[in-house]
Amino acid sequence: MNSLSYTEEELMACVMARLLRGLRHVAVGALSPLPASAALLAQALEPSLQVTILGSRKHLRFTDGGRELFDCAAQGRIDAFFLSGAQIDGQANINLVGVGDYEKPDRRFPGSFGSAYLYHLVPKVILFRQEHTPRIFVPQVDFISAAGVSAPNVYRPGGPQHLVTGRAEFAFSEGQFRLVSTHPGTDAAAVRAATGFEFESAASVPSTPAPAPEELMALRGKVRAAVSEIYPAFATRAFAAPKA
């Protein structure tokens, strides 16, 4: 807990959950506790939202093996997905492979997983990364795991629409990020200093609305309980305990 009455993770989960309003089906990849929290929060507030979470037993209603998530996305049955990156650049390219030479990288990351595919096929991809530093948000990624933008003739029903970090929320359209709001405790100038790529921003950027009481109640109750089943360590760290 910081001096605010909520954690950074709680704020990010709220911001990400708000982006899911009105959707039918959101899917969350493996090892993604923050997106899972956001999806479950959105569902707690809007029960018609179907939530698929890889790695969960309860929230995985698939019966066709490892390929089903990808086929399902290509069928247009998944409205939103979350992706992150070891590096993310101003064209919304993401790098999950490595820094430096491909054959002998300075730093090697796990790999691209489904990003190169889902980034093209899921209509609303929400990028997220809690750490907001110039190390992550670079002018140009060293390796494009998945491309942010495509030529007009490329079949691409999906792509990046939002970026949520520990400091701010951005929108992405027409090949460019635009600062939507800065989280309480920071401002546009600080965000710009922490970001290695150029982005648009209005003269005056609003502050991200703090979690509403009903959001926090759901997060610390239902959502925390559900997330604990999949990510116990994260749930303990990220959420304030519910009030007794």
Binding site: G66, R67, L96, V97, P110, G111, G114, Y117, I144, Y155
Partner: protein
């Protein structure tokens, strides 16, 4: 066609040095006891194919120097972070890698399952994966106009190796909803399976179980190895997090890895 064998040495006899070996992700059914047996035997020059990602099993094989070529959409230890021997081998330039994306590996296996040379796949365009995967071709979609589409060549593993809940004495193997294991068995030349238990009767005679069963036609050898996935989890049984954390920490150095490997293979 398939046969129940009494020990891991017999199970693994069809897997020779230099072969391609397909393995499932950590959340599916990993034959880790069989992997330890392979490490003891000292298998070499594997072309390891993660379907579509892998963790501890791949890191062990890489760390022990068994892998000459790795094809995967991702390698990590799940919540325990980076796979240390994979990371070290890559950063030392010691491992040939074919980076992939999950659906491309599924599609390649499906192409092998269907006996077709390739499968088209949407997405991927604009990714540097196309740069490092010259075997992934881009053609103009014959059913479109100026519509580039990626082709993924068939992946036909010499061997698929995994762990499952149960097999019957005919060699049928029950995998339930873990149908990536069925796909692997269809696509591979040889399929080797460890199981928790033997089912008495035929899995295919029970309509409910049949729906989650790989027929013996696709299964080369089966061996009963209760707990054959440990320390990884399986179905409702959780992973041994303490052991995995120990591995993640020890394997950061070659010495730590070697020490733990000696202990695990003892």
């Amino acid at each position: 066609m398939s046969q129940l064998v009494p020990d891991l040495t017999t199970l693994l006899a069809p897997l020779s040095d230099g072969m391609s070996l397909a393995i499932p992700p950590d959340y599916s059914g990993v034959a880790l006891a069989a992997t330890r047996a392979l490490l003891k035997r000292g298998v070499r020059d594997l072309h390891l194919i993660a379907v579509p990602q892998a963790g501890l099993q791949a890191d062990l094989l890489i760390g022990a120097g068994c892998v000459k070529l790795l094809e995967a959409a991702g390698i990590n230890l799940g919540e325990h972070g980076l796979a240390p021997r994979f990371t070290a081998a890559m950063q030392a330039g010691e491992l040939r890698m074919r980076d992939a994306t999950c659906p491309a590996i599924h599609a390649g296996l499906q192409a092998a399952e269907k006996g077709i040379p390739f499968m088209p796949l949407r997405g991927i365009l604009g990714s540097d994966l196309l740069r490092v995967r010259p075997d992934w071709r881009v053609i103009d979609n014959p059913y479109g106009e100026n519509d580039p589409i990626v082709l993924i060549p068939a992946i036909r593993p010499d061997v698929a190796l995994f762990h499952a809940r149960m097999a019957d004495r005919e060699g049928n193997v029950w995998v339930g909803i873990r149908r990536e294991l069925l796909l692997m068995a269809h696509a591979a030349q040889t399929t080797l399976v460890t199981v928790e238990e033997i089912y008495e009767g035929s899995l295919l005679d029970d309509p409910a179980l049949a729906a989650g069963t790989i027929p013996a036609l696709y299964v080369t050898r089966v061996c009963e190895v209760p707990g054959g996935m440990r320390p990884l989890g399986f179905e409702n049984e959780p992973s041994d997090e303490a052991q995995l954390a120990r591995y993640a920490s020890a394997a950061r150095s070659r010495e730590g890895f070697n020490g733990l490997l000696r202990e695990w293979l003892a």
